[in-house]
Symmetry: D2
């Protein structure tokens, strides 16, 4: 019974698509989804929703050489050893291409969550790319914003700070040189209901961490103050409201703003002559809709779970 | 058919126990386990293993006042709102007391993993407590060690560095003053089999992250180089073996040493006159066997999963 | 938040207990439960409910000989081959003793279901034991009854028919001679909500069948008209309301009375001199509370599931 | 790494297809599968296998009237009430059309099982259709056969008995008149490995029962002697090898031949002028490959599960 918002689905796919700007991979995929099942007369049926997106710009020949030679930093060889039989074209499930499916699932989860909690807002952005970090003033501007992802999407790098031009230059340069760069994604959730999260093994911070770390090239995850909390003195931290628990206490949302951060290594698709212009110099801009998708999925799960909390 | 190593179970419980040293909570719990089922003639049966530990030093009266007043930084109130009916004595499942069960489950998982991979070693230690951090030399000593947790346990703070005396003084002082301190736990796994980890949603880094973040007071998790990888240039990072992927590529173990770090906030049980001397000034020393337990559980799951990889 | 009805728990255990009458095993077990967790001030907490019942009249020596010799019709040997290491005392998980746990879980499920649907009633009875079957008149009396299991429990055989005395004589005789007898349990559910059951793989008839067939010594299961429906002509069957679909259509409850039947083989614990008087001549009377327990569990699952049906 | 036997997939779909003979629905669906993922160079990758089959002969207009009027004996109305929003064209997931997916999944499961246990054979057949039942001599012939389903498929009714002509006449007549008939499917599994089945809740008989009863129009399931075992005296039954446990003891396969039976009601698609010639007079012939598919799926699950039995 959820209204199926096809425009939302298309928009999210568009945000993840390669070729969307000069700071990302130039591979040309239109990523047009076809809904095969589960939707009827504009609403979900409760039956499985199957959506397919076909590859258009994959050239299997490009990957021929990989058949014989594992790529530096890539998972090709561990994968091959593990499963015995692998599809060497594009890394199979180890490829970033699998995140198309995450974005589609996330879009559907988003439709459900918005149907249940219309006021909720999820906003992801790059808080750091290589040597550049958002300033306190940048952060303040974001806090005062209307929390719409369109605002972030104005920046091709999705780095919503005064230094965004420098970041874009850095990325264009890296793309030209076949270099790669790491970065940090920050996610804020506004107007989350309280009471999301299950005790012990499915604390919501635990599920957010798993969801984030299931994405390729991730190297760490923080909730609220993250690592910096380890340096604080408890009496002051907890007592004087200095603490930012990230909107979660005891593993359960409090209704306050949820804040988390995730780290990405520099991508390993570098120095790769055969694929010139087809690699992402930094995965962060295109990873933002992917991370948001995972967040929507976790929120949807926990909203359903919450229906079982009380009699 | 796994040999049930009761000494191992007792040792792990002892490592987690309050009252084990002057730097931890003085609450006196002997934490003696009773095995109710699943073990026969010294070996597991494959049937569920039930083990109980009874509370001895819990004084329900101590918690009477909490019934009416939620504790600062604690989850009592979010919990109450969520479930309607809660056990106000000691925080229920929001209490650190639930980690006894994790340590017991982890001990059993450890028995299974050691039966399958006798050479594997898991070593957790405090790499940072408040302002103190292990030096490069400390780390080097650990790398040259035999990776036995007994070596770490020599230090009541489980901070295996030259500054350990200072750390212990800090903790004793904080305990006296009702202050609390955060810190970092680092876990190394030596001689892990390669090929552990499942694609997409159960990458091993994803499951480690979830397992860690399911523990109370955690605020972040890193695999390998973690956040610091975001600052690296890919060409150099991946090309010159500068990278420490943490023993995991494509979400799958490579057989190299696995390295991860987890962050703990300062505990919220502070300033709490009624419980003087019964709080942990820093949760890190006692959390180490808990974190290790979760790691053993993830390893056990993935070793079983690996049995399904190939025909 | 469910009221924990300890009297209900005790009553259900009592109904399953050996030694309750002369037509069942004389083994003397009081089956006193101890609630270890999950209940506080008379209500469930949402945390796991642990309840233990200790064996009292098990004499391990009785089973010594089985160590060397598998019992006729028993699963001892298949079990041993499968798991390598088994507990030969009493058949382990292959023993009917494991159904104590089912009855306890079923009692808790019953508390939940009754809290959500106070008017629901589940009534199981023996509709056939050996050569004796309930007559149409017996069935009519049951349909006119108040559907309380106490009414069934008046009969030690739980065969609520005019021939119940003969059935009891048959059972007493079989017990004396070390003979065993099969039978049929029929379960009726009155005032079930409509809409229970999930499409395709968790139709409610499918889950009832699994729940029933997971009990030892079961050999078949029928919903509504069962096998007899195979003999009907559809036009008449569906058109003239002759059909008894068992309260389920398309795998989903309709709100009409649910009817199902389950078959039990004669028990295999026969001719077993060492255990004279300690075997059940027919498992049906004591299996009734076990089957009902499984039904309550399925109902509880599906009632929770139903909370996810619509927005 | 499993060889993907596309011919097997096509053959199984062909066996289920409407329009395959004059005794089944004349609806014309070619049921051509397209493999979208999970197979590479003729072998499975371990990644999800997606296969689609498109409807060709569905005329949505045919179902227009159902939009306003629920069909007799059909689940349309319970479904509608449960989910609020349904696809009225063809019954959605309540339609027999969903069994195409079961047959495809079963074919893949069959490929896996045959790769692990090449000698295993699963043979399903109609043992009863309306008033006709296989004779003892028919059964004896089957026991002496080579257990190939081709042998069964010679008969359009899949009733492999001397009276098969009469059965076919009955079905053709019923089809013409818009009448429907019930029946019984029997499944035999030869050369099953021993040790399949898990204790307590996933006994293999329990999983077979669930798998069978998840199919539409089923009304009962029997293992081995089924209901007839309820009439036997245990001493004779177990002692003199009279018993046919159906190849399962204690819920675990013994390696002996597995035997089970499932009951089907007369289909409810009757008297339905608009769909003249497009209904199945008896679902049994076309249900046989569906039931077999479910059996292969259960076998595949339990073969994988068995890998976890011992160290």
């Amino acid at each position: 019974g959820v209204s199926f918002d096809e425009a939302l689905l298309l928009r999210e796919l568009q945000r993840r698509r390669p070729g969307q700007s000069k700071v990302v991979s130039g591979r040309n995929e239109s990523d047009q989804p076809t809904v095969l099942s589960g939707v009827f007369e504009g609403k979900t049926l409760g039956t499985p929703i199957a959506i397919i997106v076909k590859n258009q710009d994959a050239k299997s020949e490009d990957y021929k050489e990989i058949q014989y030679q594992a790529r530096l930093g890539h998972a090709d060889d561990v994968w091959k050893q593990k499963f015995g039989h692998v599809d060497y074209r594009g890394g199979g499930r180890a490829s970033g291409r699998e995140t198309v499916a995450r974005v589609m699932a996330g879009a559907v989860a988003q439709m459900l969550v918005r149907a249940l909690v219309p006021e909720i807002q999820v906003m992801g952005f790059a808080s750091q790319i290589g040597p550049f970090e958002l300033s306190d003033k940048d952060i303040q501007n974001l806090l005062n914003s209307n929390f719409e992802s369109q605002m972030i999407d104005q920046y091709s790098s999705r780095f919503p700070g005064v230094e965004h031009k420098k970041v874009e230059e850095l990325l264009v340069g890296a793309k030209t040189e076949g270099q790669s760069i790491g970065g940090t994604i920050e996610i804020w959730i506004k107007n989350s209901p309280s009471g999301l999260g299950q005790p012990v093994f499915h604390k919501i911070k635990s599920d957010f961490a798993q969801a984030f770390m299931s994405i390729g090239a991730t190297s760490g995850f923080e909730m609220g103050d993250g690592q910096s909390a380890t340096q604080k003195e408890g009496a002051k931290y907890h007592g004087e409201q200095e603490a930012d628990y990230g909107g979660v206490r005891g593993g359960i949302t409090t209704g306050e703003m949820i804040k988390m951060r995730g780290f990405f290594k520099p991508t390993s698709s570098i120095l790769d002559v055969a694929k010139k212009g087809r690699h992402d110099p930094c995965i962060v801009p295109r990873a933002i809709p992917v991370v948001e998708a995972m967040i929507w999925i976790v929120l949807a799960n926990h909203l359903l779970w919450k229906r079982l909390d009380q009699l």
